[in-house]
Structure formats: structure tokens, C-alpha cells
Symmetry: C2
Subunit: 104 residues, 2 copies
Amino acid sequence: MTPLHPSPEQFRLEEVLAAFGHPVRAAIVRALAPGEEMFCGAIVPGVPKSTLTNHWRVLRESGVIYQRPSGRKLYITLRRGDLDARFPGLLDLVLSEESFGQAA
Amino acid sequence: MTPLHPSPEQFRLEEVLAAFGHPVRAAIVRALAPGEEMFCGAIVPGVPKSTLTNHWRVLRESGVIYQRPSGRKLYITLRRGDLDARFPGLLDLVLSEESFGQAA
């Protein structure tokens, strides 16, 4: 079953900022920034799966990522187009800060 | 005693984003955006003082606000110059989203 994702008009800036505002989630955003879909287990390999479960939820519910289930696996993409359309410049600004996503 | 404030080179983007990423803190940033120093009790009058204590700490430790004690009162300013120097465009981008700080 595909989990629920907000539509861009449902995005709230505070929620997106809060999603970006954690070292592990920042590392996930950084890893997904090139744009390719990734297997969820390959994105931040050092972080335990149980820790990640909550982070996937925060990222998905705020609109930052898209989760595609395939069998028992989850594949993740950054919703760059939707984020750029809704909050122009935000993702580029955040990714332009070199330290962003390097501390996890 | 003046509480501890980070210097701009100590600011971390994830911490600033996390500070912005809460409805009450967003409302505080919005209220302080015009630039004037404000008495802490006048910024978000509907929010209980005990709730605010934690928010002042998060905002101060991330570098978003400056707290000036005067007798038993605290006066607050937005560190716009330091934020703009460290993360150019971020504060303007966040404030340009009309809904930011309206939900508290």
C-alpha cells in the first residue's frame, strides 16, 4: 500500500523547515539531492532502521520525500519539483550550505 | 546575567531550520521581523510563559534571537544581521511565505 503523501498545496513551511532541521534528515536530503530514487536502506547506511522509521514519516508527511513501496522494500525520492514550486529557492539555499547534512 | 549566545560562525543551519520549524517560534520570528527590540511578554501574548521558556532557549542557542536581561525582564531582538550574513536569503525567504508564523 502506498503511504499517504500531502499535495503541494498542503505543504506547510514550518513543517518542511522542521523536517530539514535534524542532522539525520538533513543527511537524507543531501543524499537524495542528485535526484535519483534510492532504496531506503542505502541512503544513510550507518543509521539503525528503527531510528529511520520516524524520520521517513516526518519527511513524507511534510512533503519532502516520496515513498514508493515495492514488495517489502521502500524506495525514496526527494520531491524537488514540488518543493521548488511551493517554496522557490529554499532547497537550493539549504543545499548550498556545505555543512548541511554532514553531521549525521 | 546575560545568557550565552553563539557567535555567527557557531550557527548551524540544521539548528536554525529547527528553530524556525515550530508554529510558536515562527510566530515569534514574524513578530520580531520589523527589527525592534521587544519585551518578551509582548511578543506572542497568548502563549503561556512556561511554554515560551523552552522556545526562547531554542531560538537563542541556534542564533535566531538575542536576549537582553534588564532587571527581571528579558528583551528580545531578531539577529537579522548575523543570520543574513551567515545564511544569505534564508530569513527573507522564510518571511516571504505568508503563512509562516500565522498558525500559533
